[in-house]
């Protein structure tokens, strides 16, 4: 049976008289790879911050991993993982120290952290890099490690904010394989990206325009509906209607 892990009803966020997120309602199932797209300023980041328990909704409801995002923010934070291209790991800490730090923050037991660190590094083929400073790793390795760290505490959901910008094509694929693997294990993946070829890896995609969700479906259905060759064309058709950009 399907289990809903993210659910929102008319979720709204206003800053003064500006409605950044405007009445969005959607659900994401367990183990789904869900792409959250939109132009700059469409409201993606604001929506994601609410879902991560970092910002209170102005109105409407939202549940993440079964917790109310208006009332149980701490419980929400414990059930999710987060990674972005801009921030993921501490450059001045060694590989194992980063893992230890994040494991500790999420309240994992010392013993568990230890065994799981060895296992994670083994799976990534990073066992030799255990004592390397993160700043000395190539970008692609950092991104793979950052993703593994973000799901180290076995969250129900992991939020990825433009995770693969600038990474070489081969590594980008290894990265997506890690995402497939996590989803296959039942971790729900919620991902934003500006790159439409990446959107096609997702099971379903939502496209936000001016604070609203304008379309939500599988990539295939979206292409059919908009009579488009690829997701880029779908996106261009929808996002060009936007009245506001972030200005």
């Amino acid at each position: 049976m399907n289990e809903t892990v993210i659910h929102t009803e008319k979720l709204t966020k206003k800053f003064g008289n500006f409605t950044a997120v405007d009445n969005i309602s959607f659900s994401v199932e367990k183990g789904e790879i869900f792409g959250f797209l939109g132009a700059n300023g469409a409201g993606k980041t604001t929506a994601m911050r609410m879902l991560c328990g970092l910002s209170y909704p102005s109105s409407g409801k939202g549940f993440v991993a079964g917790y109310d995002i208006s009332k149980q923010q701490e419980a929400v934070k414990k059930s999710i993982g987060y990674m972005s291209q801009k921030f993921s790991l501490y450059e001045d800490l060694k590989v194992w120290e980063n893992i230890r730090l994040f494991g500790g923050i999420y309240g994992m037991k010392e013993k568990t952290i230890e065994t799981k660190t060895a296992q994670t590094l083994e799976e990534l083929g990073f066992a030799k890099e255990r004592n390397t400073l993160v700043k000395e790793l190539p970008l692609g390795w950092k991104q793979k490690l950052a993703f593994s760290v973000s799901i180290f505490h076995e969250p129900k959901i992991v939020f990825l904010d433009e995770p693969t910008g600038g990474v070489d094509p081969a590594t980008r694929r290894q990265f997506w394989e890690l995402i497939y693997q996590a989803a296959n294990r039942g971790i729900t993946v919620f991902v934003t990206t500006h790159y439409m070829d990446e959107a096609e890896y997702c099971n379903r995609i939502s496209i936000m325009v001016d604070g609203k969700i304008e379309a939500l479906d599988t990539p295939k259905n979206l292409r059919h509906r908009f009579n488009a060759k690829n997701m880029d064309e779908v996106f261009q058709q929808l996002a060009r209607k936007a009245k506001r950009s972030d200005n």
Binding site: G165, Y180, F235
Partner: protein, 304 residues
């Protein structure tokens, strides 16, 4: 005269070889793309050609001038848009543009025709501080500032990184228009899908060029037959494909997987194998490679 001519440029930082014997020419009026991931050497190359960094060895000319001897004159003749937003955040849109015009001893009016199409899009916000602009608008302003002195060669270092698809498309449309004004454009990008918008591209990895050609020829030279494979369980499909001896390489490409195959490949055989492994919704067909397929193959051959 070539707009840019580079011979055997090398540059290293401590133990890292950033550029390893790079040579190439850019014709006048060409849009020339340097395409590769972060850390491949794109920025070092741009900084050397814009006279902001000295190469360890090798020569280069820009607009016929030597990058070491004639560095001052080169700076007058080129426009440079670095990867990081580098305008004055505390100055308004108009003040930034005026500042750059003044530095180059010209006025906004003198070359207004060059920037008109672009500037008109941000003119309604000309009194806004540059730091308060959206990503797409910052990019447009930066391009205006790089153009205001009518450069012969324009260097754009990752102008579209982090920009949404609509603004990206607009940006490339602007570049096409500039090309009509006979401005030579060197542009770098980590995004392979932008390659087809260039006249010629250089694929760069670890400080070396893998290939230099028109995008069409790079695709034509792809030595393998490429197949697209799809089923209802894409993750399992990836593993199953890699386990079969007929399959040479297998990579995820959005909704489908791309495979190259050995001589013993047969489509019926693969269909049967996948069906026996429990796959449903199987679709296999031959496809044309993209620049990204080509890059991956070249990058892999280089490593071996």
């Amino acid at each position: 005269m070539k707009a840019v001519s580079v011979q055997n440029i090398k540059k290293s930082y401590k133990s890292v070889q950033a550029l390893n014997d790079i040579s190439f020419d850019v014709e006048q009026g060409e849009i020339y793309g340097i395409i590769g991931p972060d850390g491949a050497g794109k920025t070092s190359l741009f900084r050397i050609l814009t006279t902001l960094l000295l190469a360890d060895s090798g020569n280069a000319t820009v607009d016929g001038l030597d990058i070491v001897k004639d560095y001052k004159e080169i700076r007058n003749r080129i426009g440079y848009m670095p990867g990081r937003f580098s305008l004055y955040q505390d100055l308004s849109v108009e003040e930034n543009l005026e500042f750059f015009a003044t530095v180059f001893n010209t006025t906004i009016q003198e070359n207004y025709h060059l920037i008109k199409d672009i500037y008109q899009q941000i003119e309604p916000f000309k009194d806004r501080k540059a730091g308060k602009l959206s990503g797409g608008m910052k990019q447009k302003l930066a391009l205006c500032c790089a153009l205001i002195h009518k450069p012969a060669v324009l260097f754009l270092d990752e102008p579209t990184t982090g920009v949404d698809p609509v603004s990206r498309k607009e940006f490339w449309d602007m570049l096409k228009k500039l090309k009509e004004q006979n401005i030579t454009i060197l542009v770098s990008t980590p995004y392979m899908d932008e390659a087809k918008l260039c006249d010629r591209i250089a694929l760069i990895q670890n400080g070396s060029f893998l290939d230099v050609e028109t995008p069409q020829n790079i695709i034509k030279r792809y030595p393998e037959i490429l197949w697209s494979v799809q089923s209802d369980d894409m993750y399992k499909l990836l593993k199953d494909l890699r386990n079969h001896s007929m399959i040479k390489t297998c990579f995820a490409f959005g909704e489908v997987h791309h495979i190259t195959v050995n001589k013993d490949f047969s489509i019926n055989e693969l269909n049967k194998y996948l069906a026996n492994s429990g796959h449903t919704g199987i679709d296999i067909h031959e496809i044309k490679p993209s620049i990204e397929d080509c890059y991956m193959l070249l990058a892999q051959n280089e490593k071996q």
